[in-house]
């Protein structure tokens, strides 16, 4: 696994050499592109369906004939923000809540995970093995069974119905997933740190001045994943947030009745678009992050 330091973007560069067309190659090309088209269709069709459904004029699923709405309009998107049906579907608020929770959780969570992964990778200390084993064990527990307890703890802290409860929970439990970050730091040569240490820098300085700047891909990856989880989690906010005004988008969409299908679709599209764009822009970091997580236990 010495090769685990990943190239940021690993997709092979298409061959630029002119190739001679032979029947075998032609067949191979046809098969390859057919497969590509098929795969792309499978992945893009459901998403496209949702997008078109969100533009449906009548709004409910049952008035669709076939896959697609019979008439289109952008009213649903306007309604999404302007007409909350007497406070039943305040999508704008949900969106801001979601942004707040995901954003703050992401900043705090990233800091904690990176720190944990770094410490677990670079330091030898008493209890390190115990922590490692404990996290492995915790990962195997059906986690949300603790939800009853989490509800009571949050209620005791007086944070029920508060978005801060979610932030505490998301950021507080994020370090459990430190293995990916540890894998990444394992693959960073230790010599840089040793050199800094020789120069008399303290560990804190090394972490801030040397480690953090070096681990930009990992930070981006971690920030993205710690952002994406609160962005789309539905169970925890459903448990802890009571009032509609403090719901996150996921809870609101989950509780939307069938007659509001177009609203659901529009809300889904609107919440999905930012994250899709983020993923697109940051796909090379995702590849390196996923690979770093993969190569070390």
């Amino acid at each position: 696994m010495s090769t685990s330091r990943t190239v940021a973007d690993s997709s092979p560069i298409p061959s630029r050499r002119p190739r001679r067309v032979t029947p075998g190659r032609l067949f191979d090309d046809i098969a390859t592109y057919t497969a590509l088209l098929a795969v792309s269709a499978v992945f893009v069709f459901p998403a496209l369906w949702l997008v078109l459904a969100s533009l449906s004029k009548t709004g409910d699923l049952f008035s669709f004939r076939g896959f697609f709405p019979s008439a289109y309009s952008i009213d649903t998107f306007r309604d999404l923000f302007t007409n909350d049906v007497n406070g039943l579907y305040p999508y704008g608020k949900w969106f801001i809540n979601t942004l707040y929770v995901a954003g703050v959780s992401s900043v705090l969570g990233t800091l904690l995970v990176i720190l944990t992964g770094y410490v677990m990778s670079r330091f030898q200390f008493k209890g390190r093995d115990a922590i490692k084993k404990a996290t492995l064990l915790l990962g195997i527990f059906p986690g949300f069974m603790g939800m009853t307890a989490i509800f009571i703890i949050v209620a005791q802290l007086g944070l029920l119905n508060r978005l801060e409860a979610l932030i505490l929970l998301y950021a507080g439990t994020a370090p459990l997933g430190y293995l990916v970050q540890k894998g990444y730091f394992d693959s960073v040569p230790g010599s840089i740190h040793e050199a800094a240490k020789m120069d008399g820098a303290s560990q804190l300085t090394i972490f801030i001045r040397v480690t953090l700047p070096l681990s930009k891909p990992m930070i981006v990856y971690t920030a993205l994943t710690t952002f994406a989880w609160p962005w789309s989690d539905c169970l925890l906010p459903q448990l802890l947030l009571k009032n509609r005004e403090v719901w996150t988008v996921a809870v609101g969409l989950y509780n939307m009745p069938d007659q509001q299908f177009a609203r659901f679709a529009a809300g889904s599209v609107f919440i999905a678009v930012p994250i899709v764009i983020l993923y697109f822009c940051l796909v090379k970091y995702i590849v390196s992050g996923l690979t770093a997580g993969a190569v070390k236990e």
Partner: protein, 439 residues
């Protein structure tokens, strides 16, 4: 007791004794004002907490309440579940206080040794510097450890304990609970619960294996397809799966649920073309394998892209020398895949596959969103449907029907099963056996 802490220090300074009783006092006497005050504050805080409620909470942990609240008459009383968790919290706090006490005594002893050697006691700033450097790992891990203890370990321990009470059913607030083994008796006695458990477990294992394998091979095939030499603009092609990856999973699942519903577009097209509508996700016996298959498909749709990205990264790490050597030996492309690519990827991904296996085994979301709220009557599933995994079942039991103790007992069983399975796979995996050589 003191002796063992101080590792044979010949003469124990009285200041250390003082610190052992009143935290920080020794430090204060050595002139370490800020540190001493901090310890003293911690001491006062701990005292205040335990006297004000901690000891009572610990007592409550054992009794689980003695006075029942009467909501109608407005008389107050105990809340068993809250007492259980507060008691647990107090016990955690006791351990935490013990750790601080130990650190405090150790610190005092350290200063005493320094003083005995005639060194000046460390000032607060130096201590802080030492924290940032020598004890960097400890300082860095404080917040993560506290967070995980509070929001992950405490709830899990709570759940384990719940399995040994009679909480649930009619025993919910304002009724008082007790410690009991009743839940285990119910699970172990062969009957409704036991029969359903076996049925769900076998499907659960099948699901975990099938979905892990399917996602892995689908992701791998996709990565191989995209990395074929004759694929131009592979980044463009890659973007389609990335869309699926980026769309929040619950939206995909609810979307698919609508798509496959009885009034959904697929059935509409079927009936419009004169065919019979299919029960995809309905509560019907014939939907059993449809729904299971759709679950596998939808989950693969969601998961494949990430495996694809992962394997793309790993594929690029395989040294091309290996392939060239194999070509010289006359190996076919399939042989190269079989002998070089697959082993390399499997080796790299074993830990990921294990954690995915565990995650799939406990995949709550997929059938909750696709088919939530069903109960299959036809084959005597007890409060479950034929697609439910154990985790869905225990959600039905403990959240929907408030059978807390039974749900907790089942989740312990799940834990044992998944732990054994994944440990067995892990220990037998190449990655584990050869870990050291690759380090």
């Amino acid at each position: 007791m003191m002796k063992s802490n101080l590792h044979g220090e010949r003469k124990i300074s009285p200041h250390v004794f003082l610190s052992a009783f009143v935290w920080g006092l020794g430090q204060l006497l050595y002139g370490q004002i800020v540190k001493g005050l901090l310890y003293l504050a911690a001491f006062a805080g701990a005292l205040w907490f335990f006297i004000a409620r901690g000891f009572r909470d610990i007592a409550g942990f054992f009794t689980l309440g003695t006075v029942q609240e009467n909501l109608w008459l407005g008389t107050t009383g105990d809340n068993s579940m809250r007492m259980l968790i507060l008691g647990l919290f107090a016990l955690f706090a006791l351990v935490f206080a013990g750790v601080i006490w130990y650190a405090n005594v150790k610190d005092a002893a350290f200063t005493a040794r320094q003083a005995a050697r005639g060194n000046r006691p460390r000032g607060f700033r130096e201590s802080l510097a030492a924290m940032a450097d020598g004890k960097f790992h400890a300082a860095a891990l404080v917040i993560p450890v506290v967070g995980v203890c509070l929001f992950s370990i405490l709830p899990i321990v709570f759940m384990i304990l719940i399995a040994f009470t009679n909480l649930g059913g009619e025993v919910v607030h304002p009724a008082l609970a007790d410690w009991s083994f009743a839940a285990w008796q119910k699970i172990l006695s062969v009957g409704k619960v036991g029969a359903t458990f076996v049925k769900i477990l076998s499907w659960n294992v099948l699901w975990a294996v099938a979905s892990t394998a399917l996602n892995f091979f689908a992701g791998l095939s996709l990565a191989l397809l995209l990395s074929k030499k004759n694929v131009r603009a592979s980044k463009f092609w890659r973007s389609f799966p990335v869309v699926a990856y980026a769309v929040p999973a619950f939206i995909s699942m609810l979307g698919f649920r609508f798509m496959f519903s009885q009034s959904g577009p697929i059935n509409q097209m079927l009936t419009a073309s004169g065919r019979d509508a299919v029960f995809f996700l309905s509560n019907v016996e014939s939907a059993k394998w449809w729904a299971r298959g759709i679950g596998l498909f939808v989950y693969a749709w969601i998961m494949t892209p990430s495996i694809m990205l992962m394997t793309t990264g790993i594929l690029s790490n395989i040294s091309s020398d290996l392939y060239e050597a194999a070509s010289i030996d006359g190996a076919s492309p399939f042989m190269k895949f079989r002998r070089i690519t697959l082993p390399f990827i499997l080796f790299s991904l074993t830990p990921v596959l294990i954690s995915q296996f565990v995650g799939n085994f406990n995949n709550f979301g997929i059938f909750f969103f696709l088919r939530g709220g069903l109960q299959s009557n036809y084959a005597d599933y007890f409060l479950a449907s034929d697609t439910d995994l154990l985790i869905n079942w225990l959600y039905n039991l403990s959240v929907d029907n408030n059978y807390y103790a039974i749900g907790a007992a089942i989740s312990l069983v799940i834990f044992v099963i998944t732990a054994v399975l994944s440990l067995a796979v892990y220990v037998n995996s190449k990655a584990y056996k050869t870990e050291d050589t690759f380090r």
